[in-house]
Amino acid sequence: MLKILKYSFYDLMRSRWSYVYFAFYLLLGIVLLFLNNDLSKAVITLMNVIIVLVPLIGTIFGVMYYYNSKEFTELLLAQPLKRSSIFLGQYLGVALSLSMSLILGLGIPFVFYGLFESSAIWNFSLLLITGTFLTLIFTALAFNIALSNENKIKGFGYAILLWLFLAIIYDGLFLMTLIMFEDYPLDKLSLVGTMLNPIDLSRTLILLKLDISALLGYTGAVFKQFFGTNFGLVVSFIMLSIWVVLPVLRIVFKSKRKDF
C-alpha cells in the first residue's frame, strides 16, 4: 500500500492542480491577513471559506482522480497487489496531497505573520486539523461514489449533490425542523443533528473554540457546555474519525467485489 501511496502522491504533487490549490490558499492567507490585520479575525474568515471549500475540492478531486486513473488502476490490478492496498493507497495519496496543499498554503503566510507568538495558534491549528479531517472524509466519500458509478457524469453529479446536501441543504432542513418543533426542548436534537454532519460539526467546533458563541443565543450556551469541554472535543473528534473510517471501510469492501 505504501508504494501505491508514494506513487499516487508523487503523481499528484506534480500535477498542475495541486499547485493551483496550494497557490489559492497561499493567496487567500496573505490577502486575509492584510485585510484583517489581525490573526484571530483572519482565522474566523478562513473558517467560513474552509468549511465550504475543502469538502468541495475533496469531492471533486477524489472523483476526478479515480476516473482519470482508471486505466492505470487496471494496470495495477494485474500486478501481484491486493485490491485493498491499491485503492487505499490511491485514496491516501489524494487525501494527503490535498491536506498538504491546505496546511502549507495557509501555514506559510500565517507563520510569517507571527503565528507562533500569537494566542491564535491553537485556533489556527484546530482549523487546520478540522480542514484535514474534512479532506479525508470527503475524498473517501468521493471514492465511494466513483467506485459505485461506472458513468463519469453520474459520478460527478452525485458527488456535487452530496456536497450540496451536506454543505447547504442539510442546514436548511435542520433549521426548518428546529422552527417546526420550536415548542419542544431541542438542545439534544440539535446537538445530535450537528454531530451527524461533518461540515456542521467542524463549523461548530471551531466557532465555539473562537469564543464567539455568545452570538448563538441559548442553544449556543448548551453547545458551549458540550463542545467547549474536553469531553465534547473528544466526542467530536471521535465522530469525525468515524466519518473517515466508515467510508474507508466501504472502499475496501466495495473494491473487493468490483469487476474491472
Binding site: 503523481d11 492505470f72 487496471e74 494496470l75 494485474a78 500486478q79 497487489l81 467485489r257
Partner: protein, 235 residues
C-alpha cells in the same frame, strides 16, 4: 497451466460467460478468438482476478486464484488499452513497476529492441498511441513469468515493431512459456498461434489446432474457416 471449470459471469442482464470449461497445458501459444462481445476479455480478466466470476473455479499453476493476489507474480499481462498516468515519465513508470513486482534487468534489452531510448525522459501523456503500446510491451515482457497474457498486442504498432513483437513471442515460447493471445488480426493469429480457442456466445465453440479447424469447417484457409463459423451461427 490454467484450468477453468464451469465459469459463469454476467454483467447485469448481459450473460457474458455461460459455463466455460477450458484447460490450457504448459508451453505453447494459445489464441482466444471470437466475435465482438463473445467474452474474450472477460475470460482473460477472470484469469487475472480483475473480473470476479459468479460461479466456477479457476486455477493457475495448480493454485485456486480466489482471494489470492500472489499468483499474479507468475503472470505477465498486456492490457488492451495502454493508458498510463500522464504525469509520469517512461523511465519512472518502468522503475515503478519494477519496484512493485521485483527487480529485473530485462528492460534495457527491450527498450533497445523497440528503440525507446529517446522517449525515456518524456512524459507518458505526450506519447503517441503506438509508442505507448511499445512501453506497454516492455512492461509486460521485462519479467520472467511462466504465463504471458496479451490482449490485442498488435494495436497501433508499426510493421517493424510488429515483426519484433512476433520474434519476442517466439523467443518466449522457445523458453517453454505459455502465451495466451487475443486478436482480431487473423493473419497474426495464424502466424503465431499453436492452438486456438474459439469463444461463441459465452461458451467454447472450438478448441484445437488451426488445421483441425480447417478440416472441421471444410474451408481451405483460416480466415474463411472463422468466417464460416460466424455465418453458420448467425444466419
Amino acid at each position: 497451466m490454467v484450468t477453468i471449470q464451469n465459469l459463469y459471469k454476467n454483467f447485469g442482464k448481459n450473460d457474458v460467460l455461460k459455463g466455460v470449461d477450458l484447460s490450457i497445458k504448459d508451453g505453447g501459444i494459445f489464441a482466444v478468438l471470437g466475435p465482438n462481445g463473445s467474452g474474450k476479455t472477460t475470460l482473460i480478466k477472470s484469469i487475472l482476478g480483475m473480473v470476479i466470476p459468479n460461479k466456477g473455479e479457476i486455477s493457475v499453476l495448480g493454485e485456486n486464484i480466489k482471494k489470492s493476489s500472489d499468483y499474479r507474480h507468475k503472470i505477465d499481462y498486456l492490457p488492451q488499452i495502454a493508458n498510463f498516468p500522464s504525469n509520469l515519465k517512461v523511465k519512472e513508470l518502468i522503475k515503478m513497476i519494477k519496484d512493485l513486482r521485483g527487480n529485473t534487468s530485462n528492460d534495457e534489452h527491450l527498450i533497445e529492441l523497440f528503440r525507446l531510448e529517446p522517449f525515456l525522459n518524456k512524459k507518458l501523456g505526450n506519447l503517441s498511441g503506438g509508442t505507448k503500446q511499445k512501453v506497454n510491451i516492455v512492461l509486460t515482457f521485462m519479467f520472467d513469468s511462466p504465463l504471458i497474457i496479451l490482449d490485442e498486442p498488435t494495436t497501433g504498432l508499426d510493421p517493424i515493431s510488429l515483426i519484433r513483437l512476433k520474434d519476442l513471442i517466439q523467443k518466449e515460447k522457445s523458453n517453454g512459456k505459455t502465451i495466451l493471445i487475443t486478436s482480431h488480426i487473423m493473419s497474426f493469429v495464424e502466424e503465431v498461434s499453436d492452438e486456438i480457442v474459439f469463444l461463441l456466445e459465452g461458451q467454447i465453440y472450438f478448441k484445437g489446432t488451426i488445421q483441425d479447424l480447417k478440416t472441421k469447417t471444410n474451408q481451405p484457409d483460416f480466415e474463411h474457416a472463422i468466417a464460416s463459423i460466424l455465418t453458420k451461427n448467425h444466419a
